[in-house]
């Protein structure tokens, strides 16, 4: 049970961070899923399994954080383009605030433990 909870929290953390990253990519402008994946891969090891972006995008659509439009593409079938809604923009502000506070707290703790190690 405890193990399940820890796993659940790790999942929540990863999910929240990935959501923040996708919203940040969408702030740059309208993009389609494959482009979002490309940006995330180029930024670093943010997406270990590229396919998991689709469940996340489905959730953003469902929560109306992103809206979509189908566009004809030069090569192949029409593509679904994603853009941030106003709610998506607000979620991005909230999540980046959460992330910065979280990051600062972790940084402070890690720096503190390094000092303690040096003092020993």
């Amino acid at each position: 049970m405890v193990q399940g909870e820890a796993r659940n929290q790790a999942t929540q953390l990863r999910r929240g961070l990935l959501e923040l990253c996708v919203l940040a990519v969408l702030r740059r402008g309208e993009s389609y899923a494959f482009d979002i994946v490309r940006v995330l891969s180029e930024a670093g090891e943010l997406l270990t399994s590229e396919g998991t972006i689709y469940p996340l995008l489905a959730r953003l659509r469902e929560q109306r954080l992103a809206s979509t439009t189908w566009r004809e593409s030069a090569s192949g079938p029409p593509r679904r383009y994603y853009r941030l809604t106003d709610a998506g923009r607000r979620a991005l502000v909230d999540l980046s605030g959460d992330w910065m506070r979280f990051r600062d707290a972790v940084d402070a703790l890690v720096a503190g433990s390094e000092e303690a190690t040096r003092a020993d």
Partner: protein, 167 residues
């Protein structure tokens, strides 16, 4: 031809792994992944078999993709996601119980009223438990009133007994 088989096998595997998902979402997900593969192929021109394998590897195992789907809110109720949404017994619940019980004596009416408010914003209690605590709160509202009535009838007796002595 070998590469076509690789792709169709992958998509078939995904469809099977996604059997638990609602039919509409399952079809949509398979379409999305198929389009992803097509876009990756288009981006590379004429990919070799090794490159196709790489595209599929990067996508991740179908089970992994479906598991991410199960993490989304829509899929949670179907997969027993209630524990994930309901948080643990915490500060709100402790405060609610204290306001309802001790609070009824320390702050008659206001204490239990605040307790009831906290009870209903709690995310740890089920509606039935909330109703139970509310019932408890009402009991503890009535109790001090009854006690106050006893107390207020007390001084009256004293007054009347003291009365005749005064002049």
């Amino acid at each position: 031809m070998q590469t076509d088989t690789l792709i169709s096998d992958y998509l078939k595997h995904l469809e099977e792994a996604a059997a638990r998902l609602p039919a509409r979402r399952r079809l949509e997900l398979v379409d999305e992944v198929r389009e992803h593969i097509e876009a990756a192929i288009a981006a590379r021109g004429d990919p070799s078999e090794a490159e196709i394998r790489n595209i599929l590897e990067r996508l991740g195992r179908p089970e992994e993709i479906v598991a991410a789907e199960a993490e989304t809110d829509a899929a949670l109720p179907a997969m027993g996601g209630e524990p994930a949404k309901r948080s643990r017994f915490g500060l709100v619940e402790v405060a609610a119980l204290m306001l309802v019980t001790i609070g009824a004596f320390a702050l008659p009416v206001i204490g239990p009223a605040a307790g009831i408010g906290l009870t209903w914003i709690s995310s740890a209690w089920s509606p039935r438990q909330k109703a139970l605590v509310t019932g408890l709160a009402i009991l503890f509202v009535v109790l001090p009133i009854v006690m106050l009535m006893n107390v207020s009838s007390g001084p009256l007796h004293i007054e009347s007994s003291i009365g005749p002595v005064q002049p």
